[in-house]
């Protein structure tokens, strides 16, 4: 335990800003998960690995001499097709089965992706340099990497674009219809197969954007996908499906929680604290649900 943070107000500001900026990025990944969970009823364990793969796309561009920030445009395009192909190859076979089957299937995909990335990109930890510099506040006592600000801004922009797309476009409406009632949508002429494929593709594209942002803010390694899956799972559990503002808020909340856990409990408990929180929330929700049931009786 370390209570330094309560003695130094600047650390508090630093932690809060870091947490919120990171939380926005998590929210983007979680939104993708919420979308395809809501539409297809699939919990995608490979979510984090799609993120890392997206990051490696940006990193490859960086190696080729292109600025990695362009990854936020290139990576989602490639990842959309990766997601589409993944749906056609694997997910369409498990989409109507129970949750357990789809968890197993995506878990398998996660392992395959990890090994493939390890094989192609190597087991070394890599970073892409954005060269964006740093913003200094309060006489240099709070520092914000511009790459983190950039990533938060891009995440927000993409999220807004996606919301508009879901509201206005034909495909967006079809996706929402399928989420509400797949059978009814089918009867009314929605090609649900195509909707599923597109949804999985959009989710992968969102992961691609997040990955590209992670490549310039944090580090990439073939085996660090899981923490991102857990984070987005947790955000979705708290926020519910298909509720973007809630996802954004709970994403930022998680970012803050992590950052403060890091300061107070120590960096080694950062991910552990997230898992603990997840357990608490699941127990709490169960508790609340059982109360509700009693009331109904």
């Amino acid at each position: 335990m370390d209570f330094l943070i309560f003695k130094a107000p600047m650390l508090m500001v630093q932690a809060s800003l870091d947490g919120i900026l990171l939380g926005i990025l998590f929210a983007l990944i979680a939104y993708g998960m919420a979308l395809q969970w809501g539409v297809m009823n699939i919990i995608n364990i490979a979510q984090g690995d799609l993120v890392i793969l997206g990051g490696y796309i940006a990193y490859t561009m960086y190696l080729a001499g292109i600025h990695p920030a362009w990854g936020v445009i290139v990576s989602p395009i490639i990842m959309f097709f990766v997601g589409w192909a993944l749906y056609k190859l694997v997910i369409n076979k498990v989409v109507d089965r129970d949750l357990f089957i789809s968890i197993l299937a995506t878990f398998g995909i996660a392992i395959v992706f990890q090994q493939l990335m390890n094989f192609i990109f190597g087991a070394d930890v890599v970073v892409a340099q954005s060269g964006y510099g740093t913003t200094m506040l309060f006489d240099n006592s709070v520092t914000l990497p511009n790459s983190k600000i950039f990533s938060a801004v891009i995440s927000v922009l993409y999220a807004i674009a996606l919301v508009i797309y879901m509201k206005k476009s034909r495909l967006g409406r079809a996706i929402r219809a399928t989420a509400q009632n797949a059978r009814a949508a089918k009867i009314l002429g929605v090609d649900t197969e195509k909707v599923y494929a597109a949804t999985f593709g959009i989710n992968a594209a969102l992961c691609g954007i997040a990955g590209a942002l992670i490549s310039i803010t944090l580090t990439l390694h073939p085996y660090v996908g899981l923490p991102y899956t857990v984070r987005s799972f947790m955000i979705v559990i708290v926020a519910g499906l298909g509720n973007l503002p809630a996802v954004a808020v709970s994403g930022m909340g998680l970012g803050l929680f992590e950052e403060f856990a890091d300061y107070i409990l120590g960096t080694e408990f950062r991910i552990g604290a997230v898992f603990m929180l997840l357990v608490f929330i699941l127990v709490y929700r169960r508790f609340k649900l059982s109360k509700k049931r009693e009331y109904l009786k």
């Binding site: 370390d2 330094l4 130094a8 600047m10 650390l11 630093q14 932690a15 870091d18 990171l22 090994q115 390890n118 094989f119 190597g122 087991a123 070394d124 930890v125 890599v126 970073v127 340099q129 740093t134 200094m136 240099n140 006592s141 520092t143 990497p145 790459s147 944090l218 580090t219 390694h221 073939p222 085996y223 660090v224 899981l226 923490p227 950052e259 890091d262 300061y263 120590g266 960096t267 080694e268 408990f269 950062r270 991910i271 552990g272």
Partner: protein
């Protein structure tokens, strides 16, 4: 009659059994080849360092075989290595060690990559009394278990950064310093930490931040913000390549000013290549550097090794390769001094090893660790955009002066 048949069968099987065990006990030497075995990480999270290790072994095997091989009993033998991929998985490594020993009849082992995997294999080699020379397991706990058949050519982990603390105290006019440290929670990094604790005690220094880093580390902003607030004299970070890369990225982004920064795994992280000028002034612990003036007749010196390795594998050898090559030089020397293939004789010869290789002097302590070679520290220095690692400590091998303190970020271009 029936009894006779039974007796006949029993004796036949007894003879066969004896023959089988007899031949397998000689399988270690196959014609003119001395067969060594190694489980190595060719896939999984250690695969890049696993390949560095394998390249180091292979380079030494080629070189020794080309230069006359190993002379035992007046006959010249060549080295051959059987490799299996342990998938960076300790359980798998232990299984493969059993397989190498029991099925392939290997009687001499080379180590795997990493302390964790070496720890998994050592009990197996010990059980079958198989001498193992390892080059990539530096964890102190390997050398405190009383293993009799384990020999490591590298310096143990607790020595990695001790020198850095001494250096910081020296620069502080002999007065104790304030240390901030962050270590991953794995066997190796925690051993490095123990070394720092010893050094702090010895010099009366104070540890003001003592953070532990998680395995899936990619953000240490909190630790660095604390460092910024408390202004220690030296910051020590050890968390494999991800620790080194994350630290440099966030120190430069957060503009953390600290007079001295000491790390491990800079070599493997290709620190200056990935971070360029931002990595300048970082102090790195290393087992080996090509500029050291050790020599042997197989590889010449460090610089020649560097050149030959580059020619063969297309990249500059990290110390993981150099130490792996040295492991074979140790084996060759031991076989020739033992002048026998008897495992225990070879083991005794290994115990008495006292030699110089291009990688450094090698002499084994009672626990099997190399006690003859000091760790070195290099500092990343840049000219324009090209950065180089310059040896700055210990003074005997230093090619450049240690730059201290690190200039503030506001003064760095």
């Amino acid at each position: 009659m029936n009894k006779l048949v039974k007796l006949f069968i029993t004796s036949i099987s007894a003879i066969t059994l004896a023959l089988v065990s007899f031949t397998s006990s000689f399988a270690k030497v196959d014609g003119e080849y001395i067969v060594l075995g190694s489980a190595i990480s060719l896939t999984g999270k250690y695969s890049s360092n696993g390949v560095h290790t394998q390249n180091g072994y292979n380079m030494a095997v080629d070189r020794i075989n080309k230069m006359g091989g190993v002379k035992v009993g007046g006959k010249s033998y060549k080295f051959e290595i059987i490799y299996y991929d342990d998938e960076s998985n300790p359980k798998r490594a232990a299984q493969l060690a059993e397989r190498l020993i029991k099925q392939d009849g290997v009687h001499y082992m080379l180590g795997p990559y990493s302390s964790g995997l070496t720890k998994a294999i050592a009990p197996v080699t010990e059980k079958y009394k198989i001498p193992m020379v390892e080059a990539n397991g530096a964890s102190r706990s390997l050398f405190t278990k009383g293993y009799k058949y384990l020999f490591a050519v590298l310096s143990p982990a607790n020595q990695y950064l001790e020198v850095a603390i001494d250096l910081a105290v020296e620069k502080n006019g002999g007065k104790p310093v304030r240390i901030a440290q962050a270590f991953e929670q794995d066997a190796f990094s925690q051993d490095v930490r123990l070394g720092i604790l010893d050094a702090a005690k010895r010099t009366g220094s104070e540890i003001i931040i003592d953070d532990k880093l998680p395995k899936e580390l990619n953000d240490m902003a909190a630790t660095l913000a604390k460092v910024k607030a408390t202004k220690p004299d030296v910051l020590v970070v050890s968390g494999h390549t991800k620790g080194a890369l994350t630290a440099i990225r966030q120190i430069s982004e957060m503009k953390v000013d600290v007079p001295m920064l000491a790390m491990t795994h800079c070599d493997a992280a290709k620190l200056s290549k990935q971070h360029g000028k931002n990595s300048e002034y970082a102090l790195c612990a290393s087992q080996w550097h090509k500029n050291l003036s050790y020599k042997d007749k197989f590889f010449g010196g460090g610089k020649k090794y560097d050149k030959d390795f580059k020619k063969e594998f297309g990249y500059a050898p990290p110390y993981q390769s150099a130490e792996s090559s040295a492991a074979l030089l140790v084996f060759k020397d031991a076989f020739e001094r033992a002048n026998s293939f008897d495992r225990d004789k070879v083991r005794d010869a290994l115990k008495d090893t006292d030699m110089q290789t291009f990688y450094g002097n090698i002499k084994f302590g009672p626990g099997g660790q190399n006690v003859a070679k000091p760790m070195i520290l290099f500092q990343v220095r840049c000219k324009g955009d090209t950065c180089e690692n310059k040896v700055v400590a210990p003074t005997k091998w230093a090619s450049d002066k240690f730059y201290h303190p690190i200039p503030k970020w506001s003064e760095r271009g």
